[in-house]
Amino acid sequence: MKKYQIILLAAIAVGFSSCKPEFDDEIASGTYTAGEADFSRYVAVGNSLTSGYMDGTMYRSGQQYSFPNLLSKQFSVVGGGEFTQPSYADDVNDVGGLLLGGNVIAQTRMIINMSTGGPQNIVGTPTIQVGQLQAKAFNNMGVPGAKSFHLLAPGYGNLAGVATGQSNPYFVRMATSPSTTVMTDAMSMNPTFFTNWIGSNDVLAYALSGGTGVNQQGNLNPATYGGNDITDPNVFAQVYSTITNGLTANGAKGVVATIPYVTSIPHFTTVPYNPLTPEALGGAAVVGQLNELVGKLKGALTYLGAGDRVELFSTTGSNPLLIKDETLPNLSNQLTAIFAQDPQFGPLAPILGQIYGQARHAKSDDLFVLGTSSVIGTNASSPLLQNIPAQFLPMFNKMGVTFPLEDKYTLIPQEQENIRVATDVFNNTIRTVAASKGLAVADMNAILSQLVSGIRVADGQIYTADYFKGLGNMNVVLFSLDGVHPNPRGYAFVSNEIIQVINKHYKSNIPLLVPGNYPGVTIKATN
């Protein structure tokens, strides 16, 4: 009897000790590998896309989702060290924005206000002081607003220059001295691995301004550039080489990223060229009244051989916005002469000539900046309208309907072409310089272009470059509410693309992220 029990209990003991499940190929210390790279001191160089900027500002809770910060967490399993970012502890209300000497110089972050359904700046007072100098180099050296040549510009972190636009408020808060450069501070971190995603602002600023800046091709002195200008390709190439030489001087490896076509981001793709439905215009009666004006304008333009600039409003279809196209021959004088003979409009002829001299209806190849949606149909406040008697004013002052949208709202094909050409040249430079140093290239331009039609990720979810449309796409939207920068989920998506490039180029094995597990845009019940 005893013998049986002992045998039985021994068998049970053996059985139980072996039934804790184990995997054939269990995740262990050797599962993930750094490959040919050394992630012990990772430094990220770039602009707002690197800093973790989103929803139109830097803010405390958003910054933790910067792609370099997300990457650093993945690097930590393959020898990555500590990763520091500039402090936003002074953003006590988590609303972002900027204060310079008590004045608000940057607005709070954007949120969706469900009671109105649209994006708004969150109500609150910024507490982030430009003058709060940290005087410290960080692993994340992304500086919102920086163009390529800014990374090499002494004084870009000088507090005294913020008011005059000579320096950058975000870099001021970080810079180790007023005279240092972004690159100097970055190199003081002695990186073994880097990411460099710079260059977007060299063309994006022009695009965001609606193409109001100047294409500086041929001007080799960036000190003379305006904020909204396109950088000269030779300046870009020279600056980019200098930055890359600096980053790789001590043998560091890294990833450089290409510049996306701005035409693939929701800031420029969300507002359609023809949002004016008959209902939006106020119904068939209003359309009829509008067509009295448009009809006369079209008649005059037809007489001048430019009748295709405008079309009568349709009472059934969606109508295009009215824009000012500075590339068109200015017909102000001719229109003034024709309108002068009109019994109704005669007295206003000189003004109408001015308003409609370069007006045309938008076409499908015109792009509009995101902010256009909030001005369409509102009353224009232009000096041109000052002398129109009040009773006639409503006939001519509706933005995008009867009053042409100014240049800053639109990217006409010529401006898009300037952007495309510059982006291609810059990206060629990036690829060429990267190849010369054996660096990995994350082709964010190609990825974003694919994203426009949709990218299916490993878990089956399909992501697009769409803007927030409502609760129906709240779980798949990748862009923040500024329409330019990713949201946390989007930065996780970006991080994955970079990890895949690293894994391939440096024969590493770094685990990926799941974008779907990251937050999207902030939705509030009320603001």
Binding site: M1, Y4, L8, L9, A11, I12, G15, F16, S18, C19, K20, P21, E22, F23, D24, D25, E26, I27, T31, Y32, S61, Q74, V77, M114, A458, D459, G460, Q461, I462, G472, N473, M474, N475, V476, R489, P511, L512, L513, V514, G516, N517, Y518, P519, G520, I523, K524, A525
Partner: protein, 419 residues
């Protein structure tokens, strides 16, 4: 390990049924038969457990009165990993299926019995907000079956049996609402608990036992499908962002979960006075479990449809018993249980794959009437790379998966009293 310790283990964890075989079925309905691989449809002349395995067995019991009762301490470990994302997780859950059987032979031909047992249940508790939390954080499914049985010998060799089943059960289930929703602070994930208790339903159980000769017995048993319909369960939402609170209000829900029909056929072979062998083939009609549909009373909350698409599955069981003396008998057995879960439907609420079980046990008769039954089992589950591909997010199905591996073991203690 002595008996007191075994009792202590059982009592410590006396709470609910737990994970075991394929799906949410737990095959632990009697220590003696469990030790023989949970065979029993054609095993006669043992103790009152027999009426669970086949209601027709009641008339073939040796004594006028037969009772047995028992409890099993069952521990199940599930391990999960996903190398793509460096995900690792595991959960260990303990449960205690119980049983009580009593049989009274009214006369030579007719006997009546009562069976109380817990054949379905699942308790899985992952870390709150773990990687698969949008599918399940934790689930606790319990059911108690109460079954009066009647068996009648139509000849000396052939008996028919019927059982009427009353089921009372409950389920409590928690998962996160989406893969990323949090409250306004951004710190707490939004989750929902659905809780339905006291759900009851009826079913039946039919059996036939035939002694083919002095050595070989044949048995067949059919258990009907029982649909557990929860009406007016409570759904409670936690840590919802303010903008969603007007929609996702706590309220009632309805849901149905099937307990599938089963058909078992088997033979036993009394090799000689000391040796008995048994083999069962069990077919479970799991395809009844197409999807878990949760309909909320609040019309603003969309109906939650969770495809399961189980397939019918088989289990093959075998065991032997060695009874050298009147005082002592020992048993050993095993079974192979094919999982009803199909590829792409592998949900972490029942994270189990095909299982191979080894069982053993013994009985010590303290007196001629009173026997103490022990059983021990070890379940080895195949490692599986699998996923659940039907979580809907903004109109698209999203997959969650990785490598799963389960292991389970149990210790059981039972008492038999016959006179």
């Amino acid at each position: 390990m002595n008996r007191n310790k075994l009792m202590a283990i059982s009592l410590l964890t006396l709470m609910s049924s737990s994970v075991f075989a394929g799906g949410y079925r737990i095959s632990m309905q009697g220590q003696r038969q469990l030790a023989m691989g949970h065979t029993g449809v054609a095993v006669i002349g043992q103790n009152a457990e027999s009426i669970f395995f086949n209601p027709a067995n009641g008339t073939f019991l040796k004594n006028k009165w037969s009772f047995s009762a028992g409890v099993t301490a069952l521990t199940s470990d599930v391990k999960f990993q996903n190398k793509t994302y460096n995900w690792k997780n595991e959960t260990s859950n303990t449960g205690t299926p119980v049983y009580f059987y009593g049989n009274y032979q009214v006369n030579d031909r007719f006997s009546v019995g009562l069976a109380i047992y817990t054949p379905y249940g699942s308790a899985v508790e992952w870390d709150q907000d773990w990687q698969g939390s949008h599918l399940v954080n934790n689930i606790d499914l319990k059911s108690y079956f109460i079954q009066p049985t009647f068996s009648y010998k139509i000849t000396d060799e052939v008996s028919l049996g019927v059982g009427l089943i009353y089921v009372n059960g409950g389920v409590k289930f928690n998962r996160n609402l989406t893969r990323n929703m949090t409250d306004d602070s951004g710190m707490n994930r939004s989750d929902v608990t659905v809780d339905a208790q006291g759900v009851h339903s009826f079913g039946y159980n039919l059996g036939l036992t035939a002694k083919l000769d002095d050595y070989v017995t044949f048995g067949v048993n059919y258990r009907s499908q029982i649909d557990m319909k929860a009406k007016g369960g409570n759904a409670t939402f936690h840590d919802m962002p303010t903008f969603a609170q007007s929609t996702y209000k706590d309220g009632k829900f309805d849901a149905t979960m099937p307990l599938p029909a089963e058909l078992t056929v088997g033979f036993s072979y009394q090799i000689n006075k000391q040796w008995l062998a048994a083999i069962d083939y069990n077919y479970t009609f799991w395809s009844a479990y197409e999807s878990l549909v949760i309909e909320f009373e609040n019309p603003n909350i969309p109906t939650s449809v969770n495809p399961r698409n189980y397939k019918n599955s088989s289990t093959i069981r075998a065991g032997v018993q060695y009874a050298p003396t009147e005082k002592f008998s020992a048993r050993i057995g095993g079974y192979y249980d094919v999982s009803p879960v199909q590829d792409g439907y592998f949900a972490p609420e029942t994270p189990r794959n095909d299982a191979l079980a080894g069982t053993l046990g013994f009985t010590y008769n303290v007196t001629p009437r009173l026997g103490v039954d022990f059983s021990a089992t070890v379940l080895h589950f195949k490692e599986t790379d699998n996923s659940y591909d039907y979580f809907m997010e903004d109109g698209n199905p999203v997959s969650f998966g990785g490598t799963y591996r389960s292991g389970a073991y149990s210790l059981g203690l039972g008492l038999s009293y016959n006179f």
